[in-house]
């Protein structure tokens, strides 16, 4: 049994997956429309957890899983009706099963009475339908033993006859049983169709030989003549004389015929050595081996370990067996080949690839200074290196990619709970669950999504009566979707509720001093007020969204992931929240730009184009910033050197470059820079983790020459330029100057 403990990890991993399967299934379980595939899947999940748990001796877990399984079996057989209460009980049971797994994993016994309440609740559902509650599976019963001593009623044809017994008895007289041993006489006559069940008498005889010294005699008396012989039927029977140690008991012999007891006539008799008492220790002199009547039948006895109850310690015999070599690594016949890898290892790999990207950039930097035309092969080699580095990076990133379904799958439960608390009817629709994102992003999605869905149900959706009044279906719909869009993942949460109540939001904001009284705000601006810190439209702090977490926290979470959040609402029709996030938090495709002596990186996804404006394209707005006419549209100009207080930069846009950038919501900005140095993959180093958060800056990176460059956050720049006169110079204590370059640690 010790050997199997190596599979515990697999078991816990698999069980975690099975719990999710069961939960997802349970959440879809609706009274009245029971899908038998779904129910079967839940049953199997619980069943598998129980089965594996038994193998590791987790008796409490198994006992509980058994109760759970019994009810699922009732659901499967339509003896337990599916009601809302039942589903609630089953969901609780599934949670508890997870807890029991956690206890088992830690090796702790569950506190006394942990399962009592849930078991009682489960059994209540059974009492109506299924008549019997099966005994807990704590001590798995051994298979029912074959009938003890075939009785004479079974010997219908009298085939054994007294003759055979007489033969055995006669021989017993001739060959006395050695001391300390028992002689068994086993008469075994299978029914003719035994072979059709795949059973093979030869193997049973061989199994008997393993129990001791066996003499086998074959009886051919029932063999028909050749004309009547049917090859697939069995016409032979056997008498086996077995001299075995005293610890071989009737159960062990019956065990051999375990599968065929009902298809055979079996008679077993035992005989102890005449003089010695059965308990007497065997004499020191070795017993003389019994003379074998049929020489080919004598086989050295293979000692068999005494029977064990399952879950016992490793049997002694196990130690004598050859140690298995492989770990069961071959999975022939299975279509998917996967391995489980420690996340730390992958993170290390990601880090190393990041360092490699930097090194590669460094080499490229140096090579640029070589005299042109002389090192053609070196340059080609470096070109390839760059290509391979990129591919390596993508491969490594894809290892960490995970479908968002791991987050989405938690939401049905949340919706269910919210609906119950608010008394609303809610239908959750999800799409794009297979969209893959880096696992760090996926993990960080849980909290914002949880909050936003709660928010949609609590604030967005109307109650069923109100919905009916305005001609909507009683049940509101929340749609959660994910998709890849231009190198980012876009997640949308849409509800068909009442939409944002703008007058209320505005008056609330004025009341809280967030907006000046009498200010005129566009609809979009009003909608965005809900992201302001301390803002809440709930008249009363409800259980759901009033947990001290507002949309401002959601926005902060999203921004810290390098993402953005937008809200779009139509009164009476509903609201849509749009999250846009990077696919990975580790590496970014960027454009390196220079401003004075400083270098910045712009995410490639933000860049539309770069151009050198003519004087005629530029317009100054009095007391405000400059704008530029680009492609028939006025674009606000942002002077990076002013924003960050960098001396020595090109100030005249007609001599500098304007990089046209676009944010997720489509608004454009023209960044005035000295030069565009080139495209490069950069490894993102968190500024917050290593320094502190800076407005307009998403993160930092290390360039090929070892210099630290800030990665710009375009949306942040827009915010900055909106709230200040971009012509006003920044105070000298600019973040760039304050940044301690070498202190940066890898993300």
């Amino acid at each position: 049994m010790e050997d199997l403990s190596r599979f515990k990890q697999t078991y816990f991993d698999e069980s975690a997956e099975l719990l999710e399967v069961a939960e997802a299934g349970l959440l879809r379980l609706t009274p009245g429309e029971v899908d038998s595939d779904e129910v079967n899947a839940i049953f199997r999940a619980v069943h598998s957890i129980k089965g594996g748990g038994g193998a590791f001796g987790f008796t409490e877990l198994v006992a509980f899983a058994h109760e759970f399984e019994t009810v699922m079996d009732g659901v499967r057989n339509n003896t337990v009706p599916v009601t809302t209460e039942l589903v609630d009980t089953l969901i609780r049971a599934n949670d508890l099963l997870g807890q029991m797994l956690a206890y088992a994993r830690e090796g702790d016994p569950a506190p006394a009475g942990t399962t009592d309440g849930t078991v009682a609740a489960l059994r209540r559902h059974l009492s109506g339908g299924a008549p019997q509650v099966q005994a807990p599976a704590a001590a798995p019963a051994a298979p029912a033993p074959a009938p003890v001593y075939a009785d004479d009623e079974d010997d219908e044809a009298g085939l054994f006859g007294d003759a055979m017994a007489a033969i055995a008895a006669a021989r017993a007289e001739e060959d006395p049983v050695p001391p300390g041993k028992l002689r068994w006489t086993i008469v075994f006559r299978p029914r003719p169709d035994l072979l059709m069940s795949g059973n093979e008498p030869a193997f049973m005889l061989r199994a008997l030989r393993r129990l001791g010294d066996a003499t086998v005699e074959c009886h051919t008396d029932a063999l028909p003549n050749l004309q009547n012989l049917e090859a697939e039927l069995l016409h032979l029977s056997w008498t086996v004389t077995l001299i075995a140690d005293a610890d071989v008991d009737l159960d062990k012999i019956n065990d051999v015929f375990e599968f065929v007891a009902d298809d055979c006539d079996i008679r077993i008799t035992a005989e102890a050595p005449p003089p010695a008492a059965p308990e007497a220790p065997p004499p020191v002199t070795d017993p003389v081996p019994v003379a074998a009547a049929a020489p080919q039948a004598v086989v050295a006895a293979v000692p068999e370990a005494p029977p064990k109850t399952l879950g016992a310690d490793a049997p002694k015999a196990e130690a004598a067996r050859p140690r298995p070599n492989g770990g069961g690594a071959e999975h022939a016949g299975l279509t998917s080949h996967t391995i489980r890898v420690d996340l730390d290892k992958i993170d290390r790999l990601v880090n190393m690839v990041g360092e490699m990207v930097i090194t590669q950039a460094m080499i490229a930097e140096h090579v640029r200074e070589l005299p042109p035309g002389e090192f053609q092969e070196l340059l080609e080699g470096l070109e390839q290196l760059a290509q391979h580095t990129r591919e390596l990076r993508e491969s490594v990133m894809s290892i960490r990619a995970q479908p968002v379904s791991s987050v989405f799958s938690r939401m049905p439960r949340l919706v269910r709970e919210c609906a119950a608390t608010t008394g609303k009817e809610v239908q959750l629709v999800t799409s794009g669950e297979t969209t893959e994102v880096d696992k760090t992003v996926v993990e960080n999605l849980v909290d914002p999504l949880t909050h936003m869905i709660r928010n949609s149900i609590d604030h967005g959706l109307e109650g069923p009566e109100e919905r009916e009044r305005v001609g909507k279906p009683r049940a509101g719909t929340v749609h959660l979707s994910a998709q890849h869009r231009s190198g980012r993942i876009v997640i949308e949460i849409t509800d068909d509720g009442r939409g944002i109540n703008r007058p209320k939001v505005l008056s609330k904001a004025i009341e809280k001093g967030l907006v000046q009284p009498g200010a005129t705000l566009s609809d979009e601006e009003i909608d965005n007020l809900i992201f302001l810190p301390g803002f809440s439209t709930a008249d009363q702090v409800s259980n759901l969204s009033g947990r001290g977490v507002g949309m401002d926290v959601v926005r902060r979470n999203i921004t810290s992931l390098g993402g953005r959040i937008g809200v779009y609402s139509t009164p009476g029709e509903g609201s849509r929240f749009v999250l846009s996030l990077p696919l990975t938090l580790a590496v970014l495709d960027g454009m390196v730009i220079s401003v004075g002596e400083e270098r910045f990186v712009l995410p490639l996804t933000n860049i539309v184009e770069s151009l050198r404006p003519k004087a005629a394209d530029l317009h100054g707005l009095v007391g405000k910033c400059d704008v530029m006419m680009a492609r028939g549209e006025y674009v606000r100009l942002v002077y990076l050197h002013q924003l960050f207080g960098i001396p020595g930069a090109v100030a005249d846009p007609t001599r500098a470059l304007v990089v046209l950038v676009e944010t997720e919501d489509g608004s454009r900005l023209g960044l005035v820079v000295d030069e565009v140095l080139g495209q490069q993959q950069v490894v993102i180093k968190s500024l917050e983790a290593n320094f502190r958060r800076l407005d307009g800056v998403a993160a930092a990176t290390i360039l090929g020459d070892g210099r630290v460059a800030l990665i710009l956050d375009v949306a942040g720049l827009r915010e900055m330029s909106r709230h200040m006169d971009s012509r006003a110079p920044r105070p000298p204590s600019s973040p760039v100057a304050a940044l301690p370059a070498p202190a940066l640690e890898p993300v």
């Binding site: 050997d3 199997l4 199997r44 299975l334």
Partner: protein
């Protein structure tokens, strides 16, 4: 007593843990093991391998154990192939169902390694 030519056992179970454990135990006892995660896959594996014994779970997605046994027994080549069912304790109903469709015998889940090997030896040597 180990067979000179390794016998090949097909283990069919939707639980990876269970497949791993059966596989590990039998390999340790000198058997070749191939795996399948449900009855449908098992039929594929049997089509591509000559197996001497099938050990199948009963509850599986796609195709369950009883259906698998029925399908195998319906094929002349597998009329006498030993097929063991992995059943849960106290599952007498399943045992008799299994016997009715032609299962050779059963292994009680959870199994212990030595019991598994002795059962396997009993039906395929």
């Amino acid at each position: 007593m180990e067979p000179s030519v390794k016998k090949k056992v097909l283990t069919v179970d939707d639980s990876r843990t269970m497949r791993d454990m059966v596989s590990f135990t039998l390999k340790g006892a000198g058997y070749d093991v191939v795996e399948a995660a449900d009855g449908q896959q098992a039929l594929g594996v049997i089509g591509a391998n000559k197996v001497d014994l099938v050990i199948t779970d009963l509850n599986m997605p796609v195709m369950d154990g009883l259906t698998l046994i029925r399908r195998l027994r319906a094929t002349p080549a597998h009329r006498t192939l030993p097929i063991l069912m992995l059943t849960t304790e106290a599952d007498e109903k399943k045992k008799s169902e299994g016997r009715a469709v032609g299962a050779t015998g059963w292994i009680v889940k959870p199994f212990n390694p030595e019991k598994l090997i002795s059962v396997v030896q009993k039906v395929c040597g």
